[in-house]
Amino acid sequence: MKHRTFFWFILPSLSAMILFIALPVGSVFIQSLHVEHEQVLRVVENCGPFGCAEETIVDREATAELRENQPLGRFAGVSNYLDRNHLAVAELRSMWERSDSFADFARRAMTLPFWRALAFTLTFTFVVTPLVIVLGLAIALGVNSLPRLFRGPTIFVSLLPMIVTPLIGSLILFWMVDSRGVLGSSLQILMGDPDLSLKASPVLTWIMLMVYGVWSSAPFAFIVFYAGLQTVPEEPMEAAMIDGASRWQRVRYVVIPHLMPLAVFITLMQLMDNFRVFEPIVGFQAQANATSLSYNIYNYLRGDAAQFGAAATTSMLTIFGIVVLLTPVLIRTWRDFNRKRT
C-alpha cells in the first residue's frame, strides 16, 4: 500500500488517538509540574478603640481571580513528584533511619499514599495473574472432558463474571460478603466469630479483592485455553499414548507446550488489566484498607477541590509503571517482527 493511501485510511483513527490519548498524556505531564494556587493573603490593619492591630486575612476575591486566570496553578517543578503524597523521598529516608527492622520500615511506609497504593496494585497484579492462568487451565481441561452437550451451557455461565461491568460484579459480591449478606453471615457461623467482618481487616479486604479479581478474570483464561485445547494436534497425542504416557504426562508434555503461546497472551492481557484495578475498590468500598494507583487518581479528581497537580503526578507515575511492565513484551514482539520480515 502506498504511503499516501495508507495515510488517508489511517487518518481518522490516528487523529482520534493523538487528540484524546497522546495530547492528554502531554497535558497530564504539564499539570504534574504545577500545584494549586495558595490562598492570597493580605495584611490589614484593624483599628479599634484600643489601638491598631495587624491581621492577616484571606483575600477571597483575589484568590478566585488568580485561580480563574491561571487554572493550571503555579509552576512547582518536580516538587509534586517528591512530596509526601507521591515518592515521599524525605519521609522515606527519615523512616528508614528511625525504624529498627525492615518490617517496621515497611509498616511505616504503608502510611504514605503512593507507596500504599503501589503495594496493593503490584500485589494484586502478581497474585491474581498466575491464579487466573492456573484456574483457567484447570476449568478448560475439566470442561474439555465433559460430554459435548454440557459444554455450551458451561461456557455461557462462565462468561457472566467476565462480561459483567466490573463495578456491578464487585457490588454483587460485596452485598453477599457483607456481614449481613448470605456469605458474610455463613462465614461468621463457620468461623464461630459473630463479629467477623471482611471489611474491617486489611488482610481480609485484600483477599476479598483478589478473590473478586480471580472470579472476574478466570473465564477469560478458560475460554482462551479451551479454544486452544480444540486445536491440540492428534498425532503427538496418539504417539504419546502408544509410548505409554499417562494422562498427566500427556497433559504435561503435549498439551501444556501447545498452550504456551496462549499463556503468554493471557499473561500480557492480565498484567495490563490488573495493573489498572480500580472499580472493585469503589464497589467494595475498600478504600480504608486498600487503594490502588488508579483509585488514588480518582480520589484526587473527585469532589469540589480537585487536586489536578496531584492526580497528574500519580498518573505520570502509573504510566511509567505500565511502560516498565510492557517493555519485555515490546522487545520480544520487535524481535518477532524483525524475524518475520527477513
Binding site: I21, G142, S145, P161, I163, A312
Partner: protein, 292 residues
C-alpha cells in the same frame, strides 16, 4: 478420542466436580442477587437469619406478598433510572458505530501495509491500550472545563471512541490479515482505486469480524466507569455512575434495594448479549490469541 473411554473414574469425578463447583461460583451470585432484588432490604440483608432472604419473611410482612417490585419502582421511577438507561443507549450506540467506522479503515490500512511504521503504530496502540483510563481522564478534565465542553454526552462519546481505537485497530487488523490479499489486489488490477477495492470487495466480506469487534466496543462503552463518572454532569449520567451514586446515599432505608434493582436491570442486557452472541464473543476472545 479413544482416550475418553480409558480414563480413570477418579479423574473424571474430580474434573467434573471442579467444573460443577466453578459453575456454581460463577452463576450463584447472579441468581442470588436477581432473587433478592424482589425482596425488601430486611430480607436481602437478613440481620436475623439468612434464610429470610429465601422465605421472604419481612417482605410478606411489609408488602403482603413474597415478592415486591419496590426496588425497581424506586430506581426506575423515583430516582429516574430510565434517564440513565436512555443516556447509556445513546452513548453505547454512538461509540460502537463511530469506532467501527474509524477502526475498519485504519485496521484495513494496517493489515495491507508492510512498512516498518505499521509495526510502530501497532506497538504504540498496544501501549495506549494498556494505559489506565483514569490517567487519561485526569488529562481531560482541566482543558474540558476551560473549553466548556465538560458534562455533555458528545464529549464522553468522542473520548470513549478514542480510548476504544487501539483495541479496535488490533482486532480488525488481525481480522483483515485473514482476508486474502488477492481479493482486493485483483480488483485493483481491474482498475479500482484502493478505496473502491475496499468499498466493493472488502466491505461485503468483513461483517463477521466487524460484528465481533463491535461486541467488544459495546462492552467497553457499556462497562465504562472511569470516563463516564468523571466527564458527565448529573443529568447526563449513564447507568454505571448512576448506580455508584445510589451507593453514596445508602443511609436511607430502602435505598440499597434501589441499587440492587438497578444492578439487576443493568446486567440484563449483558445477559441477553451473551445469549445471542456467545459464539462471536468466544471467537473474539481467541482471535487475538491465535495471532500472538
Amino acid at each position: 478420542m479413544a482416550a475418553a473411554q480409558r480414563r480413570s473414574p477418579l479423574l473424571v469425578g474430580i474434573s467434573t466436580a471442579l467444573v460443577l463447583l466453578w459453575v456454581v461460583v460463577a452463576a450463584f451470585p447472579f441468581l442470588w442477587t436477581l432473587w433478592g432484588s424482589f425482596k425488601v432490604q430486611a430480607d436481602f440483608f437478613s440481620l436475623a437469619d439468612w434464610r429470610n432472604a429465601w422465605t421472604g419473611t419481612f417482605t410478606t410482612e411489609q408488602t403482603g406478598a413474597a415478592f415486591t417490585g419496590q426496588g425497581y419502582e424506586g430506581a426506575w421511577i423515583q430516582e429516574e433510572f430510565w434517564r440513565a438507561a436512555l443516556n447509556t443507549m445513546i452513548v453505547v450506540v454512538s461509540v460502537v458505530v463511530i469506532s467501527l467506522t474509524l477502526g475498519t479503515l485504519g485496521g484495513y490500512a494496517l493489515a495491507r501495509s508492510g512498512f516498518r511504521y505499521t509495526f510502530w503504530l501497532l506497538m504504540i496502540a498496544l501501549v495506549f491500550r494498556a494505559m489506565p483510563h483514569i490517567t487519561l481522564v485526569s488529562g481531560y478534565l482541566l482543558p474540558f472545563f476551560e473549553w466548556n465542553v465538560w458534562g455533555h454526552l458528545p464529549t464522553a462519546i468522542i473520548v470513549l471512541v478514542a480510548i476504544n481505537q487501539p483495541f479496535t485497530l488490533w482486532m480488525l487488523h488481525s481480522f483483515f490479515l485473514n482476508i486474502p490479499k488477492d481479493l482486493d489486489e485483483s480488483a485493483m488490477v481491474d482498475g479500482c482505486t484502493r478505496f473502491q477495492a475496499f468499498r466493493h470487495v472488502i466491505v461485503p466480506v468483513m461483517w463477521p469480524g466487524v460484528i465481533t469487534t463491535g461486541l467488544f466496543s459495546f462492552l467497553l462503552a457499556y462497562n465504562d466507569f472511569a470516563v463516564t463518572a468523571m466527564l458527565l454532569s448529573q443529568q447526563n449520567q449513564t447507568m454505571i455512575p448512576k448506580i455508584a451514586s445510589f451507593l453514596g446515599s445508602t443511609q436511607q432505608e430502602g435505598n440499597v434495594m434501589f441499587a440492587v434493582a438497578a444492578v439487576v436491570s443493568a446486567t440484563a442486557p449483558l445477559f441477553v448479549l451473551i445469549l445471542f452472541f456467545q459464539r462471536q464473543i468466544v471467537s473474539g476472545l481467541t482471535s487475538g490469541a491465535v495471532k500472538g
